[in-house]
Each structure stands twice: as C-alpha cells, then as structure tokens.
Amino acid sequence: MDARVDRLALPVGVIATLATLLVVFYYPVGSVLVGAVRVGGQLSLEPLGAVLGDPFYADRFGFTAYQALLSTVASVLVGLPGAYLLARFEFPGRRFLRSVTILPFVLPSIMVAVGFLAMFGRTGLFNDLLAVVGLGPVELTFTLEIIVLAHAFYNAPLVTRLVTAAWESVDARRVETARTLGASPLVAFRDVVVPQLLPALLTAAVLTFLFTFMSFPIVLALGGLEFATVEVWLFARVQNLALTEAATLGAIETALSLGLIYVYLRFEAMQLGAGGGSRSIDREPLLAGWRSLVDPRRLALLSYGGVVLVLFVGPLASLVVESVTTPEGQFTTDYYAFLLAQQASAATGTVQPVPAITNSLLFAAGALVLALPMGVVVSVVAARETRGSRIAEALLTAPLAVSGIVLGLGMLRTLVFGTELFGHRLTVTGPVAIVAAHAVAGYPFVTRTVTPALSAIDDRLVDAARSLGASRTTALLDVELPLIAAALVAGAAFAVAISIGEFDTTVLLAEGVDSATMPVALERYTGNRSLGPNLGPATAMGTVLLAVTTVSFVVIDRVGGRWER
C-alpha cells in the first residue's frame, strides 16, 4: 500500500469523525448546555445553584440513580446466564438466538409498553398463566417493578451479547494449560475465564446504568408520574419551554455520565492484557440424552429458558397477538388492512408502510457504513497509550452520556432552525443529516465492542507483520481486522439496531413524511383514529417492524459470520 495513504489514513479518519461529531453532536448539544451557565449573555452559576439547591431535584437524582442501579442488577442477572448458554453450549437454533438477542434494542418503547401491559397487565397473559398453577394475580402495572423489568428487557440482551463475544474469544489453550497444571475446572474458570469476561461484563453494566439513568420513554410509558426520572422531568421542562432549567438538568446528567464513563475507561485500560490469536473453547451439546434431566447446570438453564419465555417472548408474542385482536377480544385482520390502505392512499400527510420500511433499511445501511469506520478510528485512538487518551476517549464516547432530549433540542435549534454563517442561514436536515445522526448514536457501540478486542491483540503480531514489509494500514486490514471481526460484527449489529429503533432525531430532521421510518410510521398510526381509539394499527406496524428487523439481524450475523473464525 502507498506510504502516503498509510500515513494519512488515520489522521483523515480522525478529522472526518470529529467533523461529523462537531456538526451533528457537539455543536447542537453545546448550544443547549451552555444555557446552564449563562444567563442573559453573562456567565452565571445561578441556574446550577438553583437546581442543586432544590431538595426536590436531589430526590429526583436519587430516585433516578436508584432505579438505574436496580435495573442494572436485574439486567446482569438476566443477561449473564444467556451468555453462558450461548457461549458454552451447542444446540439447534443457537446462531439464530444469538442474532435475535439484539431485537429488544430496536423496539420503540411504545410497543414495548403495549407488549408489557398485554403480558404483565391485570388481565394479561402472565396472570392467566399464574392462575393455571393456582397463583396470583400480581399487580405489576405502573410500579417500579415493571419499569425495572422493562429495563432488563432492553438491556439484558446487551449483557448477553457483549459477554458472549468475550467468552467466545477466551483462548481454550490457556484453560487447558491451567487444567494440566492441576487447576480444578472451577479454579481454571475463576483464574482464566473470569478475568477475560470481566471487562465485557463491566462494559455492559456501565452502559446499562447509563441508559437506564437517562431512561425516558419506558418510565413515561410504564411508570406513571410518581416514578419520574430526571430525564422525564427534563422533557416536561422542555415542553414548558423552561429551557434554562432543562439545560441545567441536562448538564448535570451529562457531567455525571461522563464522569462514570471516564472512571470506567481508566479501569478498563488497567484490565486489558495481551490476548492474541486463540482457539475458542469447544461448546458442549446442550441436550445430552437422559443425563440432561439430572445435570444441575442443564436444569438451571432449563428454568432460565422459562424466565426468557416470560420476560422476552411473552411481551413480543403479546404484541403480535394484539395486532390481530379487537378491543373486544375477537380475531381481526383490520389492522393489517389498515396498513394496506395507508400504502394505497395518496393523501397528503399519510405515512406509507413500505417506504417506511425502505427508509429504515436505507438509513440503517448508511449509518452502518459511517459508524463502522468512525467506531474503529476512535478505538484505534483509544488503544494508544498516550497521555490524555482516556479523556479523549471519554469525550469521543459522549453520545452515550448526553440526554436524548438535550440532543434533540440542540438539533432543533441549530440544524433545523439553521445557523447564520457568513450571512447565510444554513440548515442541515433531510436523509443525509438523519444518517449522520444515526451514525453518531451508533458508533460508540462499535467502539465499545472493538476497543477491548483491539487492545487484546498481541502487539508482536502487528510488529511481525510490519517487519515483514506490511504497511500500517495493511497490518490493520490483514492482521488486526480479522482478529476483531467478531467484535466488529457485534458492533455493526448494534449500530443497525440503534438506527432502526431511532425516533426522536429522525422525526426532527425529516423533511415531511417522505423520510419517515418504521418507528415514525408506528407513532403516526397510534394517533390515527380511523379505526377508533385503539393501538391496533400501531401493533400491526410493530409486528412488521419486528419481522423486518429479525430478518435483518439474521442476515447481518450470517454475512458477518463469514469473517469470523
């Protein structure tokens, strides 16, 4: 490869990444957050003082952190056994199951809320099941418990996915070496496997905490006002155009989140050691004849399967059932006929399902193409052990730390309203802006999955390649990329999932209904009363979304799997 390309590739990548971030992230967010320290053009600590000194807000932050902690614990508890199952056992449908673990990530919260109410509601399927075995009923709706469960629904798959990827890359030879040196299976697991899983587990836990700390639609949909988190309150402040207070809440949230990310990155950097080319541990068959019934591990996994059925399959299946059931409980195909009618309609303002599906897939593909290099560039920067690289990485991971509502408000004021530049008002909207925004939301996931894998690569491998005459870029493409392929595929799936599920910035940056995506269509159909006030049309669209994304993720994993070892 040309030496000049080699020398320029990384700087150009960094600059392109920063430029994209500047336009669709830092500038919009900064324009809002500056409101927390500026009153009437003057620097002022008054807004911060007002919020920090208000016992009501102290309570809100306390409750928000508390529910995030509970949600994180629940997500880890539900997610870990899944990783164990997927990484250590072979069974029919394993690959499919691994592909669809990402599904909850793309579901619009309104659909999750509908599914959860149908599953865990007073007259829901769960209570029907309990009644069959003579238990219940339980009252879960609009409690803290159901919020935590819904958070686990969204985030346990994250734990499963990240830990599974780490588990699969544990070098079997090191476990075998430990065993030959006399370690019991348990000791070998503790000393060899656990240290390699811990970074992935912590990544997942920290991400879960961040997401649930800034959780908004789920709390809004399932909780009721008495469980309002800071983010819910921030939303209400924005609605009331109390923007200084909103900016202050957003700034405090961001500071706390960035601080957490920074501490975590420091920790992660200490944990990572050299890994390198390895052979995965062989999987055991899950079903081992009659012995399965007496093996405690397999029995535990069986009951775990029950939990998965109730918590994941239950709400999703309920959603599908709702899409073919009238409010009176009769079977109906009206809601799908509604989708067809929308498709056939030429009326102004009608969101058609097929273009919504196409847009979703196109935007996701675009976001993927942008997010993968962005994420890898940031990972390469992060993997360098230079002064300040942790701070740089924290700032480059900031999209995870900023409230979606603050970002939306910032985009509205800077990109949609336009910014005066050289006497012209520039606006940044439409499909390209949407793709860029989705990529910015998705690349931190690529980084989070790729960085540990990249850092674990034995530097000697790269050095060897370079001493044999490979350029830096060639070494990256031929040596490093194949070694991090599994992590890249995982990151790609996240980037696509984030893009497909994204609603707020999409609807903000869209110019009219032509750029509508599946979640936007779904939201529009919730407000459509042509079949009476019910969510039937939305659940039908939700089912379509579920089907389209299931297929997409299976394809991503299959295509990506070719590059994996």
């Binding site: 006002l225 008495e226 969101v351 509205l412 919730t526 407000g527 009363r529 042509s530 009476g532 969510l535």
Partner: protein, 382 residues
C-alpha cells in the same frame, strides 16, 4: 412575485364586489387593491382575461398556503385533508401544504424567539393554555390580530372565544369528561366522590405537563377546588390510587386493558364505539358536578405570514357550515360555529355536558404554568 401579489389582492377586491364567497371586504382591503390596481393597470387587464378564459369565473386567490398543525389533523380521511381538497377545488390556483412538527406550537414559539424564519402562514389547533404560553415566552406576538378579517369569526359560539386580542378563532371544541365501565363502577357524579373507597384504584388520568386532556382535567379540578385547594384534592386522589400516565393513548389503552374502570377522556367517546357487538357499558360518559371542561381548538394567522389573505380565506372556509360539519365528524369534536349540527352518528352519540366550564385566557395567564408545576412536583414527591 409581483403578479402573484397583485392577483391575490385584486381577487379579494373583486370578491368583495361580487360577494362570491360571502366576503364582506373591509376598508383595508379596498384601499390596498385600489392602489395596486392603479399601479399595475396593464397587468390587471392581462390577468383578468387569463382568468376569464381558463375557468370562466372570477379568479380570486392563488399561491401556496402553508398550514402548521398537529400530525393527526392530516393524513388519509383526516379533517385537514378534506379542508385542503375542498379549498383547492374552490380555488384552483391555490395549493395547501401542511407542516406537522413533532413539538407543535413550541416549534414556532422557539423559531420566533430565536429569529429563525417561519414559513407557515396559519396555525391550526392551539388551545388557551398554549396561547398563554406563547404570549408569556415571547416579547412580540406570534399571531396577527386578524379575526375581524375572517368571515364567520363572529358566528363562533361566544363561550368558546378564548383570545381577548382577536388573534385566535376557535374551530372546534372537545369536552373533557370521564369514560367508565358501568359494570365495574357507578358514575361518580362529583369530584368529591372520586375520593371515596368505592373509587379506590379506579381512575387513570394523564400528565398535565404534556397531555391536552390531562391538562384540561387538572384545570377542571382547579376550577372546582380553587387554586388554594386543588393540591390537597390531588393528594386525596393519589391516596385513593389515581394513576397518571403520560398521554391519552397510553391512558386509554390501559383502560381498554382493564387496568382501571375509569379514564379521563372526551365526551365524544361513544361516537367511536357504537355499533353491533360493541359493549356500550364500557363506554359510559361521566360528567363530574354536571360539568365538562371545554377545550376549544383554534386557528390563527402567523404575523410573519407573507400571504395573510390566503391564510384568512382558508380560516374563513373552515368556519363555513359544511366545513364545520366535516371537521366535527372527522376530528370527533364539536363544531365551534353556532347552530351547526353535524348530524349522523356524531349527532346521535356525542354527548354535551349540562354545564360546559373552562378558564379564560386572563384567568390562565400568569397562573397556568405555576399550577401545573406545583401539581407535578406534588405528584412526583408522593
């Protein structure tokens, strides 16, 4: 551009003369079009001929009208689309476009306060509280005082008029009421009854910070319990297990799922639900203290509109009897114009409260956001 302006103005003048659309044509218009006519005499002849030959009638309006509204007002079969197609067929030179920003009126309040351009000419679908918010946020007005130039504005029922400055003209109204399952509970009848054990865990309401019916229900309680007493009343409601969800869709869905036997909704509920095989016992409308809280929706011309006349003509059109009937039926809200009867299913199943109540603009001004904040803090701290 000049020609378009000219056509519009001449059109208004001619319409005034021939009274084609019932336009009375006020002094302002007359003077304007007269001066334009003398300035562009030749063009006048040209366009008059052109108009005469193309349609055989007097061309009055042309151009593109941009209407800002909420998203469910447009789409297949919605009131907005009916207005668009009828208005366009009456005025073949006019194109009506819709803008439906996610954050509704706030989008325009923020644009105005930050000096960003506003392309829309007319806003359709704002209520008293939103107008108060717009006025409190902005130093300059967002909307033009144009109701005296909108035909039919004086036929709107006086109790629905909510803008003392004559900017907003109501086009329909809903009445907030309870919807309940009479198989589960009796009609509560009064606000006080909602505090009784019979209604424990029985009511689902919406968050007044972001939901129209939620805000209207809160205001209704303030109307009855006074600004000094409503928080205590709500503490009582919370103690009795009221659930406050974020918006109407979620609340109604929870009600449909039988999470609770009562929900805050609209008195037009049965319009949706009558018919064969529908259990009407689940769709009973309950008025508290024999009242319903009126939540009129209005339209107003943006002060920055570059086609004010077109905006006013569209607003006038929305107040004609046929348009009022269509808006009522398609939006499932009551007409605003005196004496219009939508008939059909709407006439049969929409229930009007014995005593409609509502707060005026002046009563809400300076108060409403404080009332809502206090309320939300009270509920969240519980």
């Amino acid at each position: 551009m000049r020609r378009r302006n000219f056509l519009t103005r001449t059109g208004a003048g001619l319409a005034g003369l021939t009274a084609l659309s019932g336009c009375t044509g006020d002094g302002g218009d007359g003077t304007e079009s007269a001066s334009t006519e003398s300035a562009t005499d030749t063009e006048a002849t040209e366009s008059a001929t052109e108009a005469g030959t193309t349609t055989g009638s007097v061309e009055e309006l042309s151009g593109t009208l941009s209407v800002a509204t909420y998203s469910s007002f447009v789409g297949d079969g919605a009131a907005g689309n009916w207005l668009k197609s009828e208005f366009e067929s009456e005025h073949p030179e006019v194109t009506v476009e819709f803008e439906t920003p996610e954050n509704g009126l706030n989008q325009y309040i923020q644009r105005k306060s930050e000096g960003a351009p506003i392309d829309a000419d007319l806003f359709v679908g704002l209520n008293t509280g939103e107008l108060v918010r717009a006025d409190e946020q902005l130093d300059e007005t967002l909307f033009a005082t144009a109701s005296d130039r909108i035909d039919g504005a004086d036929t709107v029922r006086s109790e629905l008029q909510f803008d003392p400055d004559g900017r907003v003209v109501p086009y329909d109204t809903g009445y907030i009421s309870l919807v309940y399952d009479e198989g589960e509970v009796d009609a509560p009848g009064t606000f006080d009854a909602l505090l009784e054990p019979a209604y424990e865990d029985a009511l689902i309401a919406q968050n007044a910070q972001q939901s129209d019916p939620g805000r209207a229900f809160l205001l209704w309680t303030i109307y009855n319990k006074d600004p000094d007493g409503y928080l205590d009343y709500w503490v009582g409601l919370v103690d009795n297990g009221v659930t406050i969800l974020s918006d109407w869709e979620q609340a109604y869905n929870a009600y449909s799922d039988e999470e609770a036997p009562m929900v805050v909704s609209y008195s037009t509920d049965q319009v949706f639900y009558h018919g064969e095989g529908v259990d009407m016992s689940r769709h009973q409308v309950g008025f508290l203290n024999d009242q319903g809280y009126a939540n009129p929706e209005g339209m107003a011309q943006f002060v920055d509109s570059d086609d004010a006349e077109l905006a006013q003509a569209f607003a006038s059109f929305a107040l004609t009897a046929p348009a009022q009937r269509e808006i009522a039926t398609r939006n499932v809200q009551f007409p605003a114009v005196e004496g219009v009867d939508p008939g059909g299913d709407f006439g049969e199943y929409a229930l009007e409260p014995p005593e409609p109540v509502t707060f005026t603009y002046d009563e809400l001004s300076g108060n409403v956001s404080g009332w809502i904040d206090e309320w939300a803090r009270q509920i969240a701290s519980n």
